[in-house]
């Protein structure tokens, strides 16, 4: 056979053989690619009618195009033998990989999702596999699953199945392929008609086998196996198999088809739900023996960035989950961890290394409410509170919609944090997040009933602490304006003099402005910068008065405004066209920078798309790092992440294809030192801690601030 040509494929090597057929490696001389060719021998249990049916179904299956389905390129006959030309998949079968004690839960979930996705596509096209088993599912070294032999089983006897489903596991040393009986659903054994739910039963068997290394229904004879399938329940799977996965397997293995999942997409969704954080880690849950859910959730199935001392982290929040990127100080390559919290919006992130910890805080929001969670190990595990830690007291009649901002307290108060939430309110904790308290002084402010929601809701999105005065703090609300406290939060005053509110009859009201973001450099706490809903401002007197600084920007509408980490005169913004058209001006994505506190602004566009780039960058989707030269980063609603490691002179696209990006934060991992907080999350300590830690600073004296 070696050297022969079938169709336009030249056979180059034999790579496996079963009782009824042989698998060859071949080279497609027309399309110049390696392929696999399965040849079913004459007399392999096929009569003429069955052969024609097999050919028809193979042709039908060849129409399936899915990344987890091994593609069938061609079918034909040669000298009475049937042959099938298919995609060459090099990897190990799940049969081989599961042998022994099974696979780790994260692998079971990762592979299970892919198999379910493949089944879903095929079932949607009316194609049922009918012989799904670990022996005909191959995982590549990259972790991509390929399901083999879709639709080839319909007219085949068991022996032919064995031949057809022989995969590259033969190459890996699995000389025999297990029969299909252990994967057969009860209705098949009863001789009833089979539909897609038979594949879902087989998927349950595959999941069980992957998770445990053994089959759910075993026996010494076919009769014993059949009896077990028909009558017995599989032996329960305990830790490390998470309860959520075991529940999915049980439902797949319901004896009656009506009691199973009815669609493969349901199984996929259920597996993804477990992937998203529903996995109980026996190693982490401190009260595992107690009833109730774990206090910590381990993200088994998520790829984690391997964080080291000295690394720079990018924390990315999107509308569908969070990502953690790491790089070294060169910031040239990024390792990506995530997604964390599948399907949950993550509007706020913060890195907390006070008191020697390495804690990432995240707000997650979904159908099931909004939670503040934290990870002590760069995302590998997360707190999983039974009760939502941030909640409005009963007497307020208000309920939490979202957490927009997480702000750390000073380095010498490592248990103090603040959260800005929607509907607009401020919460604080003084015990590192165990208990949170509504800041009543602001919530009970007489202005509050007249604050109005902006497009994103009525959100308190900015919290700025004065590093020189622990009693002073600023917050900003859309639409409520800027408020300041001078007494640690007991009382608050509106600080909006000079800020426009174009949507109000009085364009300069005491409060009610739609402030999009405020920023302060910790070395100059009396000065603030503000990006407004129409308007770009600076205050030099602790928000008593605001001055328009939109000098030469293409639009004074925008969302983010961030400070250079070392230069208190340097600020970055990204203008958008208008309220009505919140996209980068003229289809050109440009960051604008002032190095003289707003007297002039310069566009920074090298490396950013300048044609047909109608991007929106939201208020918390831009940040800087604390390195020198400073890195600037921003994410778009279209899911692109851009970065500059030379203070904005040149830009690179770091990632694309993410869900809408709503939050970008950075952190330098200092290896456990309690001394230096170097995060883009503002703390009161920055003024004393971060400034001396950098060898070069752009002194404010180098550029003269031009006051208007």
């Amino acid at each position: 056979m070696i050297g022969q040509v079938l169709g336009h494929c030249r056979i180059t090597a034999k790579i496996g053989e079963g009782g009824m057929g042989v698998v060859y490696r071949a080279y497609d001389e027309l399309l110049h690619r390696d392929v696999a060719v399965k040849v079913v021998k004459k007399g392999a249990g096929l009569d003429a009618s069955s052969s024609q049916n097999l050919l028809q179904e193979a042709r039908a299956s060849s129409s399936l195009s899915h990344p987890n389905i091994c593609a069938i390129h061609e079918v034909g006959e040669t000298e009475g033998d049937l042959y099938i030309v298919m995609e060459l998949v090099e990897g190990k079968s799940l049969y081989t990989m599961s042998a022994g004690t099974g696979l780790p839960p994260e692998s079971v979930l990762r592979y299970g999702v892919q198999i379910a996705s493949a089944l879903s596509r095929a079932h949607d096209r009316g194609i049922i596999h009918r012989d799904l088993k670990t022996a005909n599912i191959v995982a590549t070294p990259e972790g991509l699953v390929k399901v083999l032999d879709f639709g080839l089983a319909r007219r085949m006897g068991g022996g032919v199945l064995e031949a057809l489903t022989m995969s590259f596991s033969a190459v890996q040393g699995a000389s025999s392929v297990s029969g299909t009986l252990p994967y057969m659903a009860p209705e098949i054994l009863r001789g009833e008609s089979v539909d897609a739910r038979g594949d879902l039963w087989a998927l349950g068997v595959v999941l069980y086998e992957m998770a445990s290394g053994r089959l759910p229904f075993e026996g010494r004879t076919g009769f014993e196996i059949s009896t077990a399938i028909m009558r017995e329940m599989p032996k329960p799977l305990g830790p490390p198999v998470p309860p959520g996965l075991w529940a999915i397997i049980q439902r797949c293995l319901a004896k009656e088809p009506l009691q199973r999942y009815q669609r493969a997409s349901e199984v996929q969704a259920a597996l993804e739900a477990v992937q998203s954080g529903a996995i109980v880690s026996p190693n982490v849950a401190p009260d595992q023996d107690q009833p109730g859910p774990p206090k910590m959730t381990t993200m088994h199935s998520v790829r984690h960035a391997q964080v080291k001392k000295g690394d720079l982290l990018l924390l990315i929040g999107t509308t569908k989950g969070a990502f953690i990127l790491r790089s070294n100080a060169q910031r040239a390559r990024w390792e990506i961890g995530g997604p964390y919290f599948h399907g949950h919006a993550v509007y706020a992130l913060a890195y907390d290394d006070r008191a020697g910890q390495h804690r990432i805080w995240a707000s997650t929001s979904s159908y099931w409410g909004t939670l503040l969670r934290s990870s002590p190990d760069f995302g590998k595990s997360w707190t999983n509170p039974q009760e939502a830690p941030i909640r409005f007291p009963a007497d307020t009649g208000t309920s939490l919609k979202n957490i927009w901002q997480i702000t750390l307290g000073p380095a010498d108060e490592p248990n103090l944090l603040y959260c800005g939430v929607e509907p607009a309110a401020l919460f604080e904790t003084r015990d590192a997040g165990e208990t949170w308290t509504l800041v009543r002084g602001l919530f009970d402010h007489p202005h509050r009933p007249r604050w109005l929601p902006g497009n994103g809701g009525l959100a308190l999105h900015s919290i700025v602490l004065d590093p020189a005065n622990k009693q002073r703090m600023y917050i900003a609300i859309s639409s409520g304006g800027v408020y300041r406290t001078e007494d640690g939060g007991s009382t608050w005053t509106a600080q909006n003099r000079g800020i426009r509110a174009v949507f109000m009859p009085d364009h300069y009201p005491e409060f009610g402005q739609c402030v999009h973001k405020i920023a302060m450099h910790p070395s100059r706490p009396g000065r603030l910068f503000l990006q407004n809903h129409w308007g770009l401002y600076r205050s030099d007197d602790a928000a008593e008065n605001w001055t328009d600084i939109a000098n030469g920007v293409p639009s004074d509408f925008g969302f983010p405004i961030v400070m250079h980490p070392h230069n208190p005169d340097c600020v970055y913004i990204i203008p958008v066209d208008s309220d009505e058209f919140r996209c980068s001006c003229e289809g050109r994505l440009r960051v604008y920078r002032t190095r003289n506190a707003g007297a002039t602004w310069d566009p920074l566009a090298r490396g950013l798309p300048q044609k047909q780039a109608y991007e929106t960058i939201l208020r918390d989707a831009m940040t800087t790092d604390s390195l020198d030269p400073a890195g600037i980063y921003f994410g778009t609603r279209s899911g692109q992440l851009f970065g500059s490691r030379d203070e904005g002179k040149t830009w690179q696209r770091i990632l694309e294809g993410l869900p809408s990006i709503v939050c970008v934060r950075t952190a330098v991992v200092d290896g456990g030192s309690a001394s230096t907080v170097r995060s883009s999350t503002t703390t009161r300590s920055d003024v004393t801690k971060s400034a001396p830690s950098h060898k070069t600073h752009r002194s404010s004296s180098r550029t003269k601030t031009k006051k208007k």
Binding site: W246, P293, S366, W368
Partner: protein, 93 residues
């Protein structure tokens, strides 16, 4: 009184991995039944109700095939053997 709750996949980690939870408790309303459910699995509460005790906006509860939003909300009456399904709404983007 025996009730059966159908637990959606996303919440099963808070119900010992179960897709259905049977509750034997005297209950007159959905609110009573949910209280009994919280007693067994307290972490479910904040995922289904907000802190004011209202059903979350994008969560639906069905008694049999009837959405309680049309039968009196959490005050909807229930009967022995009622099957109560907790289902996320079809919404969002």
């Amino acid at each position: 009184m025996s009730l059966t709750f159908h637990i959606p996949g996303a919440l099963r980690e808070f119900a010992a991995g179960q897709s259905t939870v049977k509750i034997d408790s005297p209950c007159k309303t959905v609110a009573d039944a949910l209280s009994a459910l919280w007693t067994a699995y307290p972490a479910l509460r904040d995922r289904i109700l907000n802190e004011q005790g209202q059903l979350r906006q994008h969560i639906n509860i069905f008694i049999g095939n009837e959405n309680i939003r049309y039968t009196g909300g959490l005050s909807s009456p229930i009967q022995d053997s009622s099957e109560i399904s907790i289902v996320p709404a079809v919404s969002g983007g």
